[in-house]
Every structure is written in structure tokens, then in C-alpha cells.
Symmetry: C2
Subunit: 346 residues, 2 copies
């Protein structure tokens, strides 16, 4: 199955293919960027499928802490050494860290070369596969340097998820649940009633997420408006990730906690019913996702919102569920109200 | 006067204003990136014209050798420290080094913020002001990392050229002559008959170059076709600049030599008449531009073409004048023929 991702500028259009990867043919040089772990598990599967003039493998260390300027530089240097030119293609083969770095490298190598994404985690398949966000972390925060750069194609293969650790699988489910809470009440119910370890049911979730996200991204490629809704849970999650130096939680886990925090805020403000608040929390817990994080200093936590790139002009924008399946964007919530939510995690 | 620069995607359209800069007003934060020398000479002129919520000055060292990852990182860090957000604007105030760095920083800071270019050298006004090329140099070559990123507006002020050293003025004229040789025989004649130290005649040259370049860039934003004609002289120039470590020649000077080399090739291949070859050389010399560079190792010089990003698939593309005012693109010129041209500089 394939999903058409379309833009105002049709030269950017591409397809996301689900379980359709048979052969990739290129008439120029190709470099695959992967990480040590994914490479060891799955390069043997992908390599025979790639026909190209020259094929280079670039392997980077596994982990969010390597989504850095140093790794970006390492990848770029490898591309120069491999003499990739403007007609070459860069393939990302890994999770979000690999695709964020590889997409960014593709966007700035010789002012932009072709980029194909083969995401190997559920999170990357349901989330990073659509949208064209690339980037790296700096000491000032997460994803603060990067670009919007669309791939030529994305291939989501469910078989690569077989070797995914349970925690990472659940972290991917968190972003899928996020989409459902924001946009589709029926889809939310799917998570309660289906077994995502069945191939077809998982493929449905991936397809649904890609479609929902594609719809948003085609309306607002550069996140100047509605696309910010996808940051539901993320305002809190980024602070949690920074405080824990990306070591304690996977991104999806931090988002799970962040959604629960946002939901509590929505509950207090009357946008979410007590019953709905609990239903969401129960689904997150069902998938072994964390919903609680002990905030050491709630004032400091609050201040950290203002460095986050999604805020602007000293206002913090909160994306909240307005009952399950709808959203509301608020940038005028009282500091005291937010602090009172944070207090329940302190 | 103003020139409309338009693209297939109209959200990228902008104006180049010539001698029109009166006041710039912003409702968000602004950072000006300049270099030490330009800042000392002209910040006193520009600063009273900028109305913004917050204004930050970032000053970088003057020189091509600072068009590096280190300076890019320095600029990005300063933006974080100044807490610029996604709605902020970055203004480049300097020559091509400053605008290439500033445009690149603007394109990747928080995945892209607004960029305004106020070029203060003739080269930057006639060349870098249109086209959206940004970038930095690496040890592998010039401009090999960068992006295509269009400014929101460009302001060319001829008064900033008053303090330009003569050599830099001539280097700018070289790129203007380049445009004339490629596209406009009458415009070429203008350089023989006019005094570019008169304000109106200089403004005409700037306007003409901006128009010619805008026409090319609007047809081929990402240099996949005709835009490569603007690289006339550059294939040779990049090797000269690399061999001399950017220390001996200004970019326009290297282009002047590169054009003369290309012209000799065109002469030998019969695309240029002896008389035309000499006319071009005489005009370059009239503006005190160098036309000769002693090649130490012509084999090495030839090999260097293949690392240059404009080449692909081990073919070197030569942009040659097909008489004055027209061009021809050749990628099948015999190695021996090229070597015989290089021999005349050895």
C-alpha cells in the first residue's frame, strides 16, 4: 500500500510505501546511513535490494546523544571521502536519530541531494516518516538546528519492527495515540480493541498515522499554523528530556508523560472530562508507557518552556485535547494554572 | 528602483531594492551579522534605520578563511544566547562571506527564520544578492556545505561602495562582465564606454546584473540546468582559489583569470574569435583584473576539476562563450585540449 504526500509545490510530492520494498535502483552513487545496531540486524536484508553504481555504508553510534553537530560533521566528511556528488542519493536506514541526521546532511551536502528514508522503528514510521523535519540537538535544546527537507520516498517495512525492543515499540505507539487524541476519536478506540502485534493491525495504525500527518503537513509544511498541533505533549516532553539529558526516557515515553500533563491541564480548564482523562491514561498504561515524572523544581520547569523553539514572544503555546479527537490551542493560560498542574508531579 | 525576483513557488518571491533603503521596521527580534571592518565603517549609518523590539549585533572576522563551520557555529550560538525565536529576522550586512554565512545560519536556525540581505560589496550586490545560494567552505572545497534559501528582501546601497578598496571594486566588476559575456553583447559594450565611478552608471550595472541573474534563477532555482551558466570561469577559479588557499586572489579576481582560461579554450575550440578573446581580455585588464595565474602542476590542476561540486559522473562541464553575449555548455572536451590550455599558463 502507498500513501501520496502532496505539497503546494508539486516537485516536493512523494509516496510513503508500507510493506512494498522490493528493489531500489539508482543510476548514481548511493550512501546508506545506519547505526551499529540496525546495521548488524538488517543490512543483510536491505543491501541485496539496492542496485547502484557505487554503494557506501556509513554507520553511526546508536542513541539520541549522538544527534549532534559532531555526528553531522562525521557523516558529511564520509560523503566527501566517498566523493558523492549532487546527483547522489542518501538513504537513511534506522530510527528517528538516523533519519533526522541523514535528512539534515542531505539538505546541506552540496546544497541538497536526494534523500530516501527507510525508518526501522515504529516511532520513525508513524512520525518522522512524514513531515520533512530534520535536525540535531545542541546544548541549547532539542532540534534547534535543522531544516525542512522532503524525502523522495519513504519505505515503512513492518518486518524491521520484529527486532525492536518492547520499550521502543511502545514509544512509537505513544505518537500514534497522540494523533488519535488530536484528530480521530474512532482511531483512538482502535488502540483499546486491537492487537498491534498482528501485522495487519499494525500496518493499519502506520497507514492511519501517515494519512493523518500527511493531511496536516500538506496544509502547513513549515509549521506556521495548524502543524503545531502535532506538538501536543511535546512542550512538556522537551523539558523532561532536557532535564534527564535524554538518558532516562525514550522520546515517545517523554511524550506519553507530556500528554498526561497536558491532559491534566485540559481537565482543569474544562476541555477534557474526568472520564476521558482516565481513558487516555489507561491506554497509555496498557502499552506500558510512563505517565508520571517527578518534577524537582516546578518554577525552573516552567521557565524552561520559554527556551523551547515552539514558543515565541514570551508566550507558551499549549496544545490540548478538546475532548478525545479534537484539539484546542491556548497561548493565554495563567502561569498559576500551569504551575498547579506541575505541582501534581512535584 | 526595485526588481521583482519571482519563483515557481510565489511564497518565495522578493524584491531587490537599489538605493531605496530608508527604514526597516520589525515587530520581533532582529540580529545583524556584519564583519569588523564593515561594522566599523557603516553600522552608524544602518542602525538608526532599523526599528525592532530587540536588536543584536554579531560581528565576525573579515575574510574568506572565516567562511567556515567554526564561524557558522559561532553565529548560531550567538542567536541562541540572544534568544532569537522562529519569528526573528537575521540581517546580513557585509560582503559575500557574511551573506553566505548569515543566509546559511538563517536557513538552519530553528529550521529556518527570515533573512534580509544588505550587501556592502559590489560583488555581493551584483552576484550574491540574487539566487539564494548560501554556504561555507570545508577542507574538501568551496561552498560544498550549504543550502538554497531565499531572502525576504535585498537592499543594494551604492553609498556603501564608497569605502570599498579598489581591488574589491574591480572584483565585483569581474562578475558583472561575466554576466555580459554570457547573456548580453550590448551590456558588454557598456563596460568599455562608461565610468562605473559615476553613481548612476554603477546603479545601471547593478540593476542589469540583478535582472539578468533573476531571469536565470527564476527558471532554475536549484541549478539543475541553465543556472550552471553562471559558473562560467568558476571551474578554473575554484581550483586557483584552492591552490592559493583563498589568500592570493579575491573571488572576482580568480573568476577573471578563470574566464580568460575558459576563453582560451573557447578560442581553441572555435567558439570565440581571436578579436573577441582579446576584447574581453582588454576589458578585464582595463579594470585592473588579473588574467594570468602560473599553474605549477597542470595534471594536478586538471584532476582538481573532478572534486568540484559542479562536476558529476567524472565529467567536467565547461561553460564557454559562444561569441560575446552567448554561451555553450560542453562536457565532452578532450583532456588533451584542456591540458593544452593549461600549458599556456604553466
Amino acid at each position: 500500500m502507498k500513501i501520496d504526500i502532496s505539497f503546494k509545490d508539486p516537485s516536493k510530492d512523494y509516496f510513503v510505501y508500507i510493506d512494498e520494498l522490493k528493489e531500489l535502483e539508482f543510476d548514481s552513487s548511493v550512501a546508506i546511513v545506519t547505526n551499529q545496531r540496525v546495521g548488524g540486524l538488517w543490512l543483510k536484508d536491505i543491501l541485496p535490494k539496492i542496485k547502484s553504481k557505487n554503494l557506501h555504508i556509513i554507520s553511526i553510534p546508536d542513541g539520541e546523544e549522538y544527534k549532534s553537530f559532531e555526528t553531522l560533521n562525521y557523516i558529511l566528511e564520509q560523503l566527501f571521502i566517498a566523493k558523492l556528488d549532487r546527483k547522489s542519493t542518501l538513504i537513511s536506514f534506522g530510527g528517528g536519530v538516523v533519519s533526522d541526521l541523514t535528512g539534515f546532511a542531505a539538505s546541506i551536502y552540496q546544497r541538497g541531494i536526494s534523500f530516501i528514508n527507510i525508518p526501522t522503528t515504529l516511532l520513525a514510521q508513524v512520525d518522522a516518516s512524514v513531515g520533512g523535519k530534520t535536525g540535531i540537538n545542541t546544548k541549547f535544546g532539542k532540534n534547534l538546528i535543522g531544516s525542512f527537507y522532503q524525502p523522495k520516498a519513504v519505505y515503512c517495512e513492518s518486518k524491521y519492527l520484529q527486532t525492536l525492543p518492547n520499550r521502543e515499540f511502545s514509544a512509537g505507539v505513544a505518537e500514534a495515540i497522540k494523533m488519535a487524541i488530536m484528530f480521530d476519536r474512532n482511531f483512538f478506540q482502535y488502540f483499546a480493541n486491537h492487537n498491534l502485534h498482528k501485522k495487519e493491525e499494525l500496518a493499519f495504525v502506520i497507514k492511519k498515522c501517515v494519512e493523518l500527518k500527511a493531511d496536516i503537513v500538506s496544509k502547513d509544511e513549515k509549521e506556521s499554523g495548524i502543524r503545531s498541533v502535532l506538538n501536543y505533549g511535546h512542550t512538556f516532553a522537551h523539558v523532561i528530556e532536557n532535564e534527564t539529558k535524554y538518558l532516562k526516557f525514550l522520546h515517545g515515553e517523554a511524550v506519553s508523560i507530556g500528554m498526561n500533563m497536558a491532559n491534566l491541564l485540559a481537565l482543569k480548564l474544562g476541555y477534557l472530562k474526568e472520564e476521558e482523562y482516565k481513558r487516555i491514561k489507561d491506554i497509555l498504561i496498557k502499552f506500558n508507557l510512563p505517565v508520571y515524572y517527578k518534577i524537582k523544581d516546578k518554577e525552573l520547569f516552567y521557565e524552561s518552556f520559554f527556551l523551547d523553539k515552539k514558543s515565541s514572544n514570551s508566550k507558551v503555546k499549549f496544545i490540548l485535547p478538546n475532548s478525545i479527537g479534537n484539539f484546542i490551542i491556548k497561548d493565554d493560560i495563567d502561569r498559576d494554572m500551569v504551575i498547579s498542574v506541575l505541582s501534581e508531579f512535584a
